[in-house]
């Protein structure tokens, strides 16, 4: 029906279409100025709005980067403080332990030195000399006997006496030398003890040197942090990311453990709270089981806090030692009770399973499972063991949780910065696209009315020719022609503007740098 009304000549569709197209083109030609204006103003408006949005986003991104940097710096400082304090504590304990031993060591060394000194003195005693009269006897013995038997006898006696004296002296000399040697031999363990004591001192000194080197390294990192060096910031950032993923992985494992724990106690919990009541669409027994597990996790957190292994709650960490110890005792007792309850529930689960299996077998005439039941104690014991151990295992979830919470701030900060940069990039891209779209749309519009424009151009050229011809006669006409030329030049320029956006920023470039 509508098509029929559009047909000017129903028998000639092509003619009708041509007429309509011509009319359409004329209308578009008449509306050319306002439409160009609308396109230009709209694109400019969108371009400016997007630029403003991008600038605002980059400012927010800059602030967030600064804030991330400060947070990272503070967390790094805190970590370094903790590490340096810990190293100093270790040095303190080493020095105290070793210094406490030093008087005893010194006394021992002095005793050893005294013993060595005494032994040395004793060993330095000269062996007994040969008797002085042996020279006189020797001289007498050298007198020639000249065949006198009495003299020969006397000389023989002297010779014997000398031999006897010589052997006695030699024996005494050997004895004295033996004593010296034994004294020197006794010195050997003293020397060894001295060497051992000095080696112990050397080892202690080396330990202290190593600790001091570690402290030097930490101090260097600390100084880098204080000077806000990029390398230190990158290291901290990388460390946070690593911590985030590792702790997330460990937390996932812990969640798996908690789920097993939940399945272990949810069914038998029906014996305690009933199996027909619901809270917000969930079975009360399941919620009770979940609450028990969450209470265990909470107790684990408090226990770790009280032991100062984690630092999630400063209030607990800053408690007096006596109060902290009380908290350790209380939380551990609660955990022990809950673990016992879980163990009992795990046992109940097995009892229920057996009862249900027996009933099912009786109702559905299933085959007896007595052979399997005889080995059921293994699964019962395993379930009870798991029910008892899992609450304590979940206690340690506090450590990865702390790392996760601390590193999460950094990771979310980095993600936020990336998101803001991407949004700013998108805003600038959209703005530039709209700006270029202005030219494209104007050209497309003109393409639609190319016929009237062509006619317009012919008319203008003809007018120009007429004006030029008249200008030769009238100077005013030349002025008009110049004006017409100016207008034409301006029109050409308005259709071919090339835009350069000085504020265009890629999301991959650092904040504040523009291309």
């Amino acid at each position: 029906m509508f098509e029929n009304t559009l047909m000017i000549w129903p028998e000639n569709v092509a003619m009708s279409v041509i007429v309509w197209l011509t009319l359409f083109m004329i209308v578009l030609y008449i509306a050319r100025g306002p439409v160009h204006g609308i396109i230009s103003s709209t694109s400019r408006m969108v371009h400016r709005a997007m630029r403003l949005a991008a600038r605002a986003l980059m400012q927010v991104e800059h602030r967030l980067t600064q804030r991330n940097r400060e947070v990272l710096l503070e967390s790094g400082k805190e970590m370094m403080d903790h590490q340096i304090a810990r190293e100093f504590e270790r040095i303190d304990s080493t020095v105290q332990r070793d210094l406490a031993e030093y008087p005893a060591l010194q006394r021992r060394l002095l005793e050893l030195v005294t013993n060595i000194d005494e032994d040395y003195k004793q060993s330095s005693q000269v062996p007994p000399d040969v008797p002085a009269w042996d020279k006189a006897v020797g001289a007498v013995a050298r007198i020639p006997s000249r065949g006198d038997p009495m003299v020969a006898n006397i000389l023989e006696n002297i010779h014997d006496s000398l031999q006897t004296a010589n052997s006695r002296v030699l024996t005494e000399y050997r004895k004295a030398t033996h004593v010296q040697h034994s004294l020197l031999k006794r010195m050997l363990p003293y020397w060894r003890n001295v060497v051992s004591a000095l080696q112990q001192v050397d080892r202690n000194m080396n330990k202290l040197l190593l600790r001091s080197k570690t402290i030097d390294r930490h101090m260097e990192n600390y100084e880098n942090l204080l000077h806000r060096e990029d390398r230190a910031m990158r290291m901290l950032s990388s460390s946070s990311l690593t911590q985030f993923f590792i702790s997330a992985f460990v937390l996932l494992i812990a969640i798996g453990g908690a789920m097993i724990n939940f399945n272990l106690i949810a069914h038998p919990m029906q014996e305690m709270v009933g199996g027909i009541s619901y809270i917000m669409g969930y079975k009360t027994a399941s919620i009770a089981a979940l609450v028990i597990i969450l209470v265990e996790v909470a107790m684990g957190l408090f226990l770790m806090e009280s032991l100062r292994i984690t630092r999630l709650f400063p209030v607990i960490g800053s408690m007096p030692d006596k109060m902290r110890l009380r908290m350790v005792f209380i939380t551990f007792t609660i955990l022990l009770i809950l673990a016992s309850v879980e163990s009992g529930l795990a046992y109940m689960r097995e009892v229920l399973a057996q009862d249900e299996a027996a009933l099912r077998a009786a109702l559905l005439a299933e085959q007896s499972t007595e052979a399997v039941l005889s080995q059921r104690w293994i699964t019962t014991a395993a379930q009870m063991g798991m029910g008892f151990i899992l609450p304590f295992a979940l206690t340690f979830v506090a450590i990865p949780l702390e790392s996760f919470v601390h590193s999460m701030r950094t990771v979310f900060g980095i993600a936020g910065v990336l998101l803001l940069r991407s949004l700013a990039f998108l805003a600038r891209l959209t703005g530039n696209v709209f700006r270029q779209l202005d030219v494209v749309l104007v050209q497309l519009y003109d393409l639609l009315i190319c016929g009237p424009l062509w006619l317009e151009k012919i008319i203008i050229n003809r007018r120009e020719r007429v004006v030029i011809e008249k200008a030769t006669e009238e100077p005013e006409a030349v002025q008009k022609a110049d004006t017409a030329e100016d207008i034409k030049t301006q029109d050409k320029k308005s259709g071919g503007i090339q835009y350069e956006d000085p504020d265009f920023v890629s999301p991959l470039t650092p904040a504040g740098e523009s291309i």
């Binding site: 069914h267 029906q270 199996g275 027909i276 009862d355 249900e356 009933l359 009786a362 109702l363």
Partner: protein, 216 residues
Amino acid sequence: MRHEYLVVAALISIYTTGCAEQVSHTRGVYMLLDTSGTYTRELVKAQNIINYTLSQLNPGDSFAVARIDTASFSEKDLVTKATFDPRPTTTNQQKRHFRVNFNNFVKDIHPSPYTDITGGILQAIEFLNETGAGKKTILIFSDLKEELDKGYIRDIPLQLNGVEVVALNVTKLHSDNVDPREYMDRLDEWEKRVAAGGGTWRHINDLERLENIFID
């Protein structure tokens, strides 16, 4: 102090919201057993269905078995019934008692001359509404051939909103074999009555596939 009041109010509102859980998650099952004529011989099959039903029910569910006789709209026709305890161990004990009660009934059964199915369904609706169960099922173990004694009025519309009616073991009578249209008409008529009452109708003859009885 005001913050504390707000926190307490929030906790109370959460608690009351949780306690105000009005949606029932329990199931109510009412089984009607045809005890007329030769159909009593089919009751062995009914034992299997009851055992299967017992194995499928959970703590808090309700289950009743009633016979269809001359005048079934009566509590006297209830063979055995139970609303299971919230505790699973007690539920298991109740199921064992239920089974024993039904077995005793099967041993001493006497055939009834008439079959008042409508009266039985009315009694079932009453029982199921009283249990407040979220899912209501009526199992009809019968050939669905209603035979009323003189004076009994059963031309009553059934109120079966939210009730699922499952016809089990609808045996073919000799007359059905002569003219199968009778059998089909009988089934159609019951389906229409149940649908008119707002209930849903299912028909299961293959008792080897008992898992089709309860489809959630």
